[in-house]
């Protein structure tokens, strides 16, 4: 007998007692106390007597149940008819005010509600039927162990064995190895065209943007200065228009006129232009690459590439709404909070003869999320 204590109020856990190993269980014996006997167990008392429902013994109750179920099915029919009427009768433009939800399209709500009625009527009707009128005495089915009998298992082994034997698989290793090789390789013709056709190689594509200008024959870029244009107005920006505290969404000159690959170009070239009091800018590089406190930074987050859309004018923080990386514009857009690691890349800018802001060159590093070889291009 296990050391189950038997006084009624005290601790009732199995307490390991005695010398080490006295209560030892062999590891292959399962989690059952294995010191020779198991505690005496209670026996399953068997089923409780069945208690009849009202509808089983009372004619009136059964009739009521029948009416309830019939009523629910009728509700479903009404719902379906209502759906048909609503579909044709309600003006799609009409709106309706629903308390707690607000203004919404009348047709949408009418269709949904009537459809719900039509479905719920059937559902609740069927369940009510099952619960009140269908048999409620539980029945018993026996289980059987999942494993097949020993003969079947032995038979399985011998079938495989005979198959291997009679097909000469065992005796002729040449067949075994060549078949293995053939099967191992046959996926290649299927997979290769898929892999090859998925997309072009990235090359240096992730490291350059529209600010680099068009790619030359020899693979270099023109790097010509480009005017900073307002997005989406597509108008150039005079330095004098950029007041302290203001922020502009900027695209390079020509990008917004693209007929093709507009979004791909935007995804890398988007820039935020801000003007700060030059005295609060702590980074000399930031001042040098800007123009009288006007600075331009990539709008694409260095975390996973969301647009860094929120500029807090008072604190000079840029916040990415996707994962809350926070960049400090006074400190060369260094990350001061959140999951991003690298600062936003700065676009060097100056003004042209007419006083419009232009780029002095492209971004000096890849914009957007990190990738393995970003530092090597």
């Amino acid at each position: 007998m296990n050391e189950q204590d038997s006084h009624p109020t005290g601790s009732s856990e199995v307490t390991p007692t005695g010398e080490f190993g006295s209560g030892a269980v062999r590891l292959d014996q399962g989690h059952v106390v294995g010191d020779g006997g198991i505690p005496e167990r209670f026996q399953n008392p068997g089923f409780a007597p069945h208690i009849h429902r009202g509808a089983d013994i009372d004619h009136a109750a059964a009739k009521r149940a029948e009416r309830t179920v019939g009523g629910l099915f009728l509700l479903s029919i009404l719902g379906t008819l209502g759906f048909i009427v609503a579909y044709f009768a309600i003006d799609p433009e009409a709106t309706i005010f629903v308390p707690g939800i607000g203004q919404n399209k009348a047709l949408h709500i009418a269709l949904g509600v009537t459809m719900a009625l039509s479905l719920l009527g059937i559902g609740f009707g069927a369940v009510q039927w099952a619960k009140t009128l269908m048999p409620d005495e539980e029945e018993v089915e026996m289980r059987h162990t999942m494993r097949s009998g020993p003969e079947a298992r032995a038979d399985f082994v011998s079938i495989l064995d005979d198959g291997a034997e009679s097909s000469h698989l065992k005796r002729r290793p040449l067949l075994k190895y060549t078949l293995g090789g053939a099967l191992g390789l046959f996926a290649v013709p299927v997979v290769l065209p898929v892999l090859g056709g998925l997309g072009p190689m990235p090359g240096d594509d992730l490291s350059v943007s529209y600010w680099n200008g068009p790619k030359e024959e020899d693979g270099t870029y023109a790097n010509t200065p480009l005017r900073l244009m307002r997005d989406p107005q597509n108008t150039p920006i005079k330095a004098s228009d950029v007041t302290i505290g203001s922020v502009f969404h900027v695209m390079p000159d020509g990008l917004l006129d693209l007929e093709e690959h507009l979004l791909e170009a935007k995804a890398k070239a988007a820039v935020l232009l801000m003007r700060l009091d030059p005295d609060i800018i702590t980074s000399q590089k930031e001042k040098d690459w800007g123009y009288e406190g006007i600075v331009a930074y990539s709008k694409i987050c260095t975390h996973v590439g969301c647009p860094v859309g929120l500029y807090e004018q008072q604190t000079h923080h840029l916040l990415c709404p996707c994962h809350q990386s926070t960049f400090d514009v006074t400190q060369d857009c260094k990350v001061i909070f959140g999951p991003a690691k690298r600062p936003l890349p700065q676009l060097p800018i100056t003004v042209d003869d007419e006083g419009y802001l232009i780029s002095k060159g492209p971004f000096k590093e890849a914009v957007g999320p990190s990738f393995w070889e970003r530092g090597s291009v």
Binding site: Q29, V32, G309, Q324, S376
Partner: protein, 612 residues
């Protein structure tokens, strides 16, 4: 079964007592149905298998409906999704919108977005179908998640159901991928931002990231390939896998028969419940309509994913509070918690673990851990028997604690995905919330484990107390000698059975390191680990009351007479009803070698006289 009241077997037939039974003549309709069924059976021999299925018994419990909710939501998704393909144009091709939604007229956008606007505004009932599709998808994943909780906490994943647990895990993973692909299709500003982030995740894969991203998107982001590719994944590839695995899942449930909760008459060898025909056909069939109806009502009344309010995708603008659907929240939250210093620059290469850990590692890791849990537990317990009776969660405190720790860790990630929303709604600093959750990720799960385990142990002790001493009635009795004692109301043996039916457990211990002949027998490292883990699981196990303990409690001096007045302790051979036969056939569960020697592996039932 007792049939003395209803000789004809059907409850309502009693009402016709005294009627002269008419000879059964099949009605015209029945004859027609029979004719069709006969025609099919002539050619397929299906009657036998169909009869077996129609006669199958399923146990009843509210928690068994959770999986049904998932199943029906999946079917609703398939139905509504098939309708949506009639109108949706899976193309990123550029067009100018001229539909009936005035605020966007004249705007350039993709055909995918424009056709989604058409479904929402120009097709009668189209918006309803879209909303049903989205809500059913959310319901599917909620349903399968809670179903998974049920299966985990009741130990339903134990042998022989490990395969089905693994299939379920894969289904859960596929479901969230399917969901992501689906909500990315309309190509609106929100879903496009999600795709942008996904492209960022892929880029951070060490070494191959940029190639992988260009492969998936067919070139630079966003490109025009991703919408049709996601479409084929969303409507063909993943649904085929989902339906195939889901079918296997259901077939295995039928083959292995459903588990049941312990209770009087329920044993490891039987299934107690209702037959498919007619009860489950009505209940489960009706439940499909209820789930569908509730989803339709929600879809009518609560707008989800109003893509017209977001506008078409453009990589430059963004909306504050950009959030994925809830089931992607935990991965998004992980990205918000991971600190930036996990990005390393080595020899000119960039290893961005601050993203890769959350976006590329976490998802497969979570589902791998889930998938292997049954095998770990089985190794620790060394239990190779089949289990068809569910555990009450309190009766396995360690497993329940582990489950709660997992749920809490998941919740920390999920709440992290809403750190911006919480900051705004609660007026807190987002930095504080993020730090709280970063620390919470390490502190809260162990705390949840400990609290849950203590609660389970307390509940078990309460069960013991109840089984031993029954309920305090509040009635004080004065004895002949002037003493006072409280009368305790007796439990019926069926009430008590629930409290005492589970197996006693004890941790595995290592054999002595020296055997009886004095020969050294050092334990292997594996054995030591296993003993240690077993100790972790079972060291403070509270075991059920045994008949001997109950007898001792009853004969204990104080209050004995009052308790004994209330019941006869050892009359557990069945109070009322007859003892005509054994319900069990004495057929034992699978007993692997090594267990049979000193364990009654059949559990209970085979020798207990049970009322037939």
């Amino acid at each position: 079964m007792s049939t003395e009241i209803f000789p004809a077997g059907r409850p309502a037939d009693r009402l016709r007592d005294g009627d002269r039974p008419e000879p059964q003549q099949p009605s015209n309709a029945a004859r027609k149905v029979g004719g069709v069924a006969g025609w099919i059976d002539d050619r397929t021999g299906a009657a036998k298998g169909v009869n077996y299925l129609l006669r199958k018994v399923f146990p009843d419990h509210w928690s068994f409906m959770l999986g049904e909710i998932a199943m029906y939501s999946l079917i609703i998704c398939l139905l509504s999704g098939a309708l949506l393909t009639l109108w949706f144009v899976p193309s990123a091709g550029h067009i100018v919108y001229d539909g009936s939604y005035v605020p966007l007229r004249g705007q350039g956008m993709s055909e995918a977005y424009a056709s989604t606007l058409d479904i929402s505004f120009d097709i009668r009932g189209g918006l309803l179908v879209r909303q049903i599709h989205h809500w059913a998808a959310l319901m599917f994943i909620v349903g399968l998640t809670v179903h998974m909780f049920r299966v985990f906490f009741t130990g339903a994943f134990r042998k022989p159901r490990e395969i089905n647990w693994v299939i379920g895990t894969v289904l859960a993973l596929l479901a969230i991928i399917e969901g992501f692909a689906g909500y990315s299709l309309p190509d609106d500003l929100l879903s496009g931002t999600g795709l942008r982030a996904m492209e960022g995740f892929v880029q951070t894969a060490p070494v191959i990231g940029s190639y992988l991203a260009y492969g998936i998107f067919g070139g630079p982001f966003p490109g025009e390939a991703i919408i049709p590719r996601l479409f084929s994944a969303h409507v063909l590839l993943i649904p085929a896998l989902l339906v195939g695995l889901f079918t296997a899942h259901i077939v295995l449930v039928a083959v292995q028969k459903h588990t049941q909760f312990p209770g009087p008459g329920r044993t490891n060898d039987n299934v107690v419940g209702y037959r498919v025909m007619p009860v489950y056909a009505a209940k489960a069939g009706g439940f499909f309509f209820i789930v569908f109806g509730i989803i339709a009502a929600i879809s009518a009344l609560v707008t989800i994913n109003p893509i017209w309010a977001y506008g078409p995708y453009d990589p430059s603008p963004v909306t504050a509070g950009s959030q994925p659907d809830w089931y992607m929240g935990f991965a998004d939250g992980a990205l918000r918690l991971l600190p930036g210093w996990l990005e390393f620059h080595i020899l000119g290469f960039t290893l961005s673990l601050n993203i890769a850990l959350g976006a590329l590692v976490l998802l497969p890791l979570v589902y791998t851990v889930l998938g292997v849990y049954p095998f770990v537990e089985k190794w620790v317990t060394g239990d190779t028997r089949e289990h068809h009776l569910l555990d009450r969660p309190r009766n396995n405190p360690t497993r329940t604690g582990i489950g709660m720790a997992g749920i809490v860790a998941y919740s920390v990630f999920m709440f992290a995905a809403g750190n911006d929303i919480m900051a705004i709604k609660l007026g807190l600093s987002i930095n504080d919330i993020t730090w709280f959750l970063r620390i919470g990720l390490f502190v809260l799960p162990p705390l949840a484990f400990w609290v849950t385990k203590r609660i389970c142990l307390s509940l078990q002790r309460r069960d013991r107390d109840l089984a031993l001493h029954a309920r305090e009635s509040g009635r004080i009795i004065r004895g002949a000698d002037g003493s006072f004692h409280e009368r305790h109301d007796a439990l019926t043996e069926r009430e008590r059975w629930i409290l005492v039916q589970h197996e006693p457990v004890a941790p595995l211990e290592l054999m002595p390191s020296v055997d009886e002949n004095g020969v050294a027998r050092p334990a292997t490292r594996k054995e030591r680990l296993r003993a240690k883990l077993s100790h972790f699981y079972f060291k403070d196990a509270v075991n059920p009351v045994t008949p001997a303990e109950l007898a001792a409690a009853h004969h204990d001096g104080h209050r004995a007479e009052a308790i004994e007045a209330a019941q006869t302790p050892f009359d557990y051979e069945g109070v009322e009803g007859s003892h005509e036969g054994h319900r069990g056939d004495g057929h034992g569960a699978d007993t692997d070698a090594g267990l049979e020697s000193d364990v009654d592996a059949r559990g209970v039932g085979s020798s207990s006289p049970i009322r037939e």
